[in-house]
C-alpha cells in the first residue's frame, strides 16, 4: 500500500481532473472562442497596417515584430488592448464557482472526506487554471509570432522573442490576479451567481468607471491659475498613482513598456531629463527594471487574494449542501 501512495499522488489526481473539467467546460470554450476571434481580428488589422510601416533606419522602428501586438489601423483595437480587456473576464470565468459549486453539488464534502489535506482542493484548482492559462497564453503568443513570420517574412530577433515571452508571463500574472479574486469570491459567497456578479462588477468598475472617477478627481484638485512646474509634476504623479490602483493600468503600463522598447519612463519626463538621452530603444533589462514595480504589485495582489481565500476556506466547516 505504501508504494501505491508514492505512485498516485492525490494532489495531482485533483489537478488532472480540474484541467480536464476546465477544458471540456462550455464557458471555457466560449471564452476561448471570444479571445481567439478578437485576437485574429486585431492581428488582421495589424497586418493591413503593416503595409505603411516598413522597417526603416529610424531606431524607434527597429522592433518591427513587436508592432504586431501594439499597432492597429484604427478599425479594431490592437492585440494588447484586447488581452487587457478580456483577460480579467477569462480569469473570472475560470474561478467564480471553484468552491461554491462543489459545495452546492455536495461533492466538496465527499472529496474532503477522503484522506487529503483540505488545501489540496484550493491549491489544485488554482494550479489547474494556471496551467491551462499558461498553455493558452504561450500558444496564443507563439501563434501570433508564427503567423507574423509567415506573413511578413522577417524573422524576429532574439530580444523580440524574449520580450514576447515576458509579455506572456505578465499576461498570465494579470489573469491569475483576477482568477484569485474570483476564487476568493467563490469561497466567500455561497451562490455561484453572486460571486460571478461580484467579480464582473469589479472588473467593470476598473475597466470603465475607474478612469472616469479619476478624471473627476483630477479636475477637482487641479488649480485654476498657473502653477509652478514642480507642482504640476507632483500633481501629475499623484493622479498617475491613483490610476495605478487599477490592476488594468498596471498591466497596460507593463505590457506597453515590454512591447514598445521606445518607452523610457512611465511618469512625466522633464526636458532636462531628456537632454542628452540617446534616442534609442531601451534594452530588455532596462524595460524590465521600469515595469518591475507593476509586476510586483500584480503578484502581490494575486498572493493577497489567494491568502484570503485560503484563510477563509481552511477555517470553514464543510457541510453537505
Amino acid at each position: 500500500m505504501q508504494t501505491n501512495y508514492s505512485i498516485v499522488r492525490p494532489f495531482w489526481v485533483i489537478v488532472n481532473k480540474e484541467i480536464s473539467d476546465t477544458i471540456k467546460s462550455w464557458r471555457f470554450i466560449i471564452m476561448l472562442a471570444i479571445v481567439l476571434l478578437t485576437c485574429t481580428g486585431s492581428l488582421y488589422t495589424a497586418f493591413t497596417g503593416f503595409a505603411s510601416a516598413k522597417p526603416g533606419n529610424d531606431p524607434e522602428e527597429s522592433f518591427f515584430f513587436l508592432k504586431l501586438f501594439t499597432i492597429s489601423d484604427g478599425t479594431l483595437p490592437p492585440f494588447i488592448v484586447f488581452i487587457s480587456f478580456l483577460g480579467p473576464l477569462l480569469g473570472i470565468s475560470m474561478g467564480f464557482d471553484a468552491i461554491n459549486s462543489e459545495q452546492n453539488k455536495g461533492t466538496l464534502s465527499r472529496v474532503l472526506s477522503q484522506p487529503i489535506y483540505r488545501d489540496y482542493v484550493l491549491n489544485a484548482k488554482f494550479l489547474a487554471s494556471l496551467i491551462v492559462l499558461s498553455i493558452l497564453f504561450f500558444s496564443l503568443n507563439l501563434l501570433v509570432l508564427g503567423f507574423g513570420l509567415v506573413i511578413i517574412g522577417i524573422p524576429p530577433t532574439a530580444e523580440e522573442v524574449l520580450r514576447i515571452l515576458m509579455f506572456s508571463i505578465v499576461s498570465i500574472v494579470y489573469v491569475a490576479f483576477w482568477l484569485n479574486l474570483s476564487i476568493l469570491f467563490s469561497v466567500r459567497f455561497r451562490q455561484a451567481t453572486t460571486s460571478a456578479l461580484a467579480g464582473i462588477s469589479i472588473w467593470l468598475f476598473f475597466s470603465i468607471f475607474y478612469n472616469m472617477i479619476v478624471n473627476v478627481i483630477a479636475k477637482g484638485i487641479s488649480p485654476a491659475q498657473m502653477i509652478s512646474e514642480n507642482q504640476l509634476i507632483s500633481l501629475q504623479k499623484l493622479i498617475q498613482n491613483i490610476m495605478r490602483l487599477n490592476p488594468g493600468q498596471l498591466f497596460d503600463d507593463a505590457t506597453t513598456t515590454l512591447l514598445v522598447p521606445g518607452v523610457r519612463s512611465l511618469g512625466p519626463l522633464t526636458m532636462e531629463q531628456m537632454s542628452g538621452a540617446i534616442p534609442s530603444p531601451l534594452p530588455l533589462g532596462q524595460s524590465m527594471m521600469l515595469v518591475w514595480p507593476q509586476i510586483t504589485a500584480l503578484l502581490a495582489g494575486t498572493l493577497v487574494f489567494f491568502g484570503l481565500a485560503y484563510l477563509q476556506f481552511m477555517r470553514r466547516e464543510i457541510r453537505s449542501r
Binding site: 498516485v8 489526481v13 461533492t107 465527499r110 472526506s113 477522503q114 484522506p115 466547516e317 464543510i318
Partner: protein, 324 residues
C-alpha cells in the same frame, strides 16, 4: 462491549451563543451498528462532522480508531468512510468515473481502482447504469452509489448521515439490508444517523437518542424501553359482543371496578367501542379469563407493548424527565 472504535469525550460545539452539541460522551464498539436517532437540528450531523475532523469541537476529545480526529484528520479519513446526507457526485461524469476518482484520491492506482469500482458497483446493484452520467441518477441510486463510494477505501468504520431520507420504502429496505450485510461480511463498524425511528430500529444493535445536542438515552431497544418507561408498559384493547342476544353487557364501569382491585391497572378508557386498559404488567390473560368467567362475550383482544416509538415520541414532545 467489544473494543471501542469511536470515542467521544465531553465534546461540545458552539456556534456563537447556540450550543449544537452539549458535553456529549459516547463510545461505539467495533463491529457494532449504532443508530443516532434524533429530529433535524439536534446536533447529529455536527457530531459526525467532528468525528471526521470536518469541523473542530469547541471542547472535548474525539477519537476514531484510536486516532484524534481534530489533530490527525487525514489518518482518520483513511479508515473512515463517510456518506453525507444527500451525497453529491460530479454530474457530468459516469458512476464509474466518480468512483475511480474517489479511489485515486485514496492513493489507489487507476487500474486497480477501476477493477474495485466495478466490483462495488455490482455489489450495490448498479452495474446496468455504471456508464451513465450520475446527473441522471435518482436519489436512491445516488445513495447506493454513495455506499459504494464509501466502501472503495476498505474502511474500518462507516458513518452514514441520514442515508434513508428521501428514498422510497423499497429503496430504504434494500439499502438497510446492504448495510447489515456489510457488517456481517466485513465486520465493519457502522454509525447510522436518522430521524426515522423505523429504519434505526430495524438494523441497529444500539441506539442513542439525541435531542438539542444532548444524548437523552442510549442502549439497545429492550433496555431502552425498560430504562425509560416507568409507567404503562402494556396497552390492552378489548372488545365484547354487546348485542341484545348476547345477554350481559360489558361496560366501562366493570373495568373501573376491576381496576380498583388490581394494582397493575393504571387506567381504563373506552374508545370506538373498544376498552383500553393501561397496565404495568402483561395482564391480558388474566383479563380475558375473568371476562369469560363472568359470562361476557369477548370478541376482540389486542395487546400492545410500548415500543421505542412511544419513548421517541415522548422525548420529542419534550419529555426530558426520563433521561438518566
Amino acid at each position: 462491549m467489544a473494543e471501542p472504535i469511536i470515542q467521544l469525550q465531553n465534546i461540545s460545539k458552539k456556534y456563537g451563543d447556540f450550543t449544537a452539541v452539549d458535553n456529549l460522551s459516547l463510545t461505539i464498539g467495533k463491529g457494532e451498528i449504532f443508530g443516532l436517532l434524533g429530529p433535524n437540528g439536534s446536533g447529529k450531523s455536527t457530531t459526525i462532522l467532528m468525528m471526521l475532523g470536518l469541523t473542530d469541537p469547541s471542547a472535548g476529545e474525539v477519537k476514531v480508531c484510536g486516532i484524534d480526529s481534530t489533530s490527525h484528520p487525514i489518518e482518520v479519513k483513511r479508515k473512515v468512510g463517510y456518506l453525507a446526507e444527500d451525497v453529491g457526485f460530479y454530474d457530468d461524469q459516469t458512476a464509474l468515473e466518480n468512483l475511480v476518482y474517489s479511489a485515486m484520491l485514496n492513493g489507489i492506482p487507476r487500474k486497480e481502482a477501476t477493477k474495485k469500482a466495478e466490483e462495488l458497483i455490482e455489489r450495490v446493484g448498479l452495474t446496468g447504469v455504471k456508464n451513465k452520467k450520475t446527473g441522471k441518477f435518482s436519489k436512491g441510486m445516488r445513495q447506493r452509489l454513495g455506499l459504494a463510494d464509501v466502501l472503495i477505501k476498505d474502511p474500518e468504520v462507516i458513518i452514514l448521515d441520514e442515508p434513508t431520507s428521501g428514498i422510497d420504502p423499497k429503496g430504504v429496505q434494500d439499502f438497510l439490508n446492504l448495510v447489515v450485510e456489510l457488517r456481517d461480511e466485513h465486520g465493519i463498524s457502522i454509525l447510522l444517523s436518522s430521524h426515522d425511528l423505523q429504519h434505526v430500529q430495524q438494523v441497529c444493535d444500539r441506539i442513542g437518542i439525541f435531542l438539542e445536542g444532548k444524548l437523552m438515552a442510549i442502549g439497545d431497544i429492550r433496555s431502552l424501553s425498560e430504562k425509560l418507561l416507568t409507567s404503562g408498559r402494556y396497552l390492552i384493547e378489548l372488545g365484547a359482543d354487546n348485542s341484545r342476544e348476547a345477554g350481559k353487557k360489558l361496560t366501562l364501569g366493570w373495568f373501573q371496578n376491576l381496576a380498583a382491585n388490581m394494582s397493575e391497572i393504571d387506567s381504563v378508557s373506552e374508545e370506538n367501542g373498544l376498552f383500553k386498559v393501561l397496565s404495568s404488567e402483561d395482564i391480558s390473560l388474566v383479563l380475558s379469563k375473568k371476562i369469560m368467567e363472568e359470562g361476557y362475550n369477548l370478541n376482540f383482544l389486542n395487546k400492545k407493548e410500548f415500543g421505542i416509538e412511544a419513548i421517541y415520541n415522548h422525548l420529542m414532545e419534550g419529555g426530558t424527565a426520563y433521561a438518566n
